[in-house]
Symmetry: C2
């Protein structure tokens, strides 16, 4: 069941479709970890949001998401409402092993499953004129289509908690520094072995994508990686990218933004690596400040 | 923004795509309500699970889901991995207003977005030989394609908490009775106006579906409905339906099962109807036992 680990993991069930089911003590640890980060967000005065995993394709057009990451996208559709379409679908795929093909019975794809929790925030605040910096947080199931999946490390569906700041660059620098300190203290407390590395996003065609070039010329993404290069957290300085794309302004200029993201299953992976598959024996996951 | 209500609702943002974003005090209330039901589940000794919203089409074949409900299904797909498919998708839909059509670049639909939280449990325990009854709980974002959506009342994406019992019919009767009591006490405490009604599921072609006929001949579904017929909770006795479909056995016979389901956004709707759109003025949502 967890053949990819050298250890049995209590409360983990892996599906070959590319996602894990968490239960028992492992789910408790996921919730505790999320609670710690949510606590940090509260210290910044962040407002919490609950979004669906669905996000409209149009709301991601300003950042040209499907141009940069068509290979990662997970699409949502449904059968059109015509009686004959629904009946033929029911007859073909109702009970058999046959699965639906994407043909003209299926509606055009208006929605994706979001590849990152924070993508919900920028369309939400599009057109805003901010008088003071915004601090935001959300936990969302995110989806990324990949060639191969590995339990907890690389999943089609995974849980991401993010804290986002939108405002001026000085506030954002302080926000990032405060997050970095908290993350490093937590990593030490939990006895994890992880280092910050400069990273770039996995663009589909980096040579043709100005955003990819910009990330290489002026690195803006730092990932906290385990010894085997699994990123458990990332700090992303967007400069004025989202502010310009979504017309969010602060103090008469395009707002700057940054997000700090945590892959909940990957933290569990890092804990299992160091402390084993029985989460009842792990160091206590409690707020470190 | 909330034109469908006569009141302003703090912490609610509605998308015309058919889903709500919750924040602030309204999200707090959603979490508190979920916590109450989770507390009931703990009293039954239920194990909690965290599933993705995705569920494989094949895992729902034993209950012929797509035969009974093709009109409600939300499908998941992605672009095939061929370079030319991805490139053409990126070129067509990268930045423009054009959204992807479902054509042969899209992979066959192996996954749905689950229409009910408990559907994850029966495939999970397929083939089990139970020595004692199982009590289970989960909260999951569920998806149902509908003709029209209304904020909090009828959404494409919504949050469902369920408590499930799989075992013998006597245990299940006691479980249902205990849930009904807790629900009625909570409804009274919150000052809501809701009544139990006999219901049937919205089958695509009821005349041709033996499961629809069975539900009419021997009612097994009770819904707790507001005055304007919005179901905020349901009690569903499955008898041995899932036990037979998924070969789950208890005490040498097909296991019986039941689920008790709560639509979190609909409870918020019921509260708004009675207590108004400012959740800070609502009666306290705390455990009633």
């Amino acid at each position: 069941m967890n053949a990819l680990f050298d250890v049995d993991v209590k409360g983990l069930q892996w599906s070959n479709d590319g996602y894990a089911t968490l239960s028992d003590v492992l789910l408790d640890k996921a919730l505790e970890l999320d609670g710690i980060i949510r606590g940090w967000a509260a210290e910044f005065g962040a407002t919490e949001y609950r979004f669906p995993s669905m996000i409209s394709v149009r709301s991601l057009a300003p950042i040209a998401y499907l141009k940069s990451f068509p290979h990662l996208a997970t699409f949502v559709t449904s059968c059109d409402r015509r009686e004959e379409s629904l009946k033929s679908l029911a007859d073909e795929c109702g009970t058999a092993e046959q699965i639906p093909v994407c043909d003209d019975r299926m509606e055009p794809v208006g929605q994706l499953l979001t590849p990152a929790a924070c993508y919900h925030f920028y369309p939400r605040f599009a057109g805003s004129r901010l008088a003071s910096p915004l601090f935001l947080t959300t936990n969302c199931q995110c989806y990324r289509r990949e060639e191969e999946y590995l339990p907890l490390q690389r999943q089609w569906c995974f849980e991401m908690r993010e804290i986002v700041c939108i405002g001026d660059s000085a506030t954002i620098e302080r926000f990032i520094e405060a997050c970095r300190e908290r993350i490093e203290t937590l990593v030490d407390t939990l006895g994890l072995d992880a280092d910050w590395q400069t990273a770039t996003d996995p663009f589909f065609d980096p040579k043709a994508d100005p955003k990819a070039l910009a990330q290489i010329l002026e690195p803006t993404k730092k990932e906290l990686c385990t010894r085997d290069s699994v990123a458990i957290a990332s700090i992303n300085k967007h400069r004025s990218f989202f502010g310009e794309c979504y017309d969010i302004r602060f103090d008469d200029a395009a707002a700057h933004s940054a997000c700090v993201a945590f892959g909940i299953e990957r933290w569990l992976y890092a804990m299992i690596q160091v402390h084993g598959g029985d989460a009842t024996t792990w160091p206590k996951l409690e707020p470190v400040r």
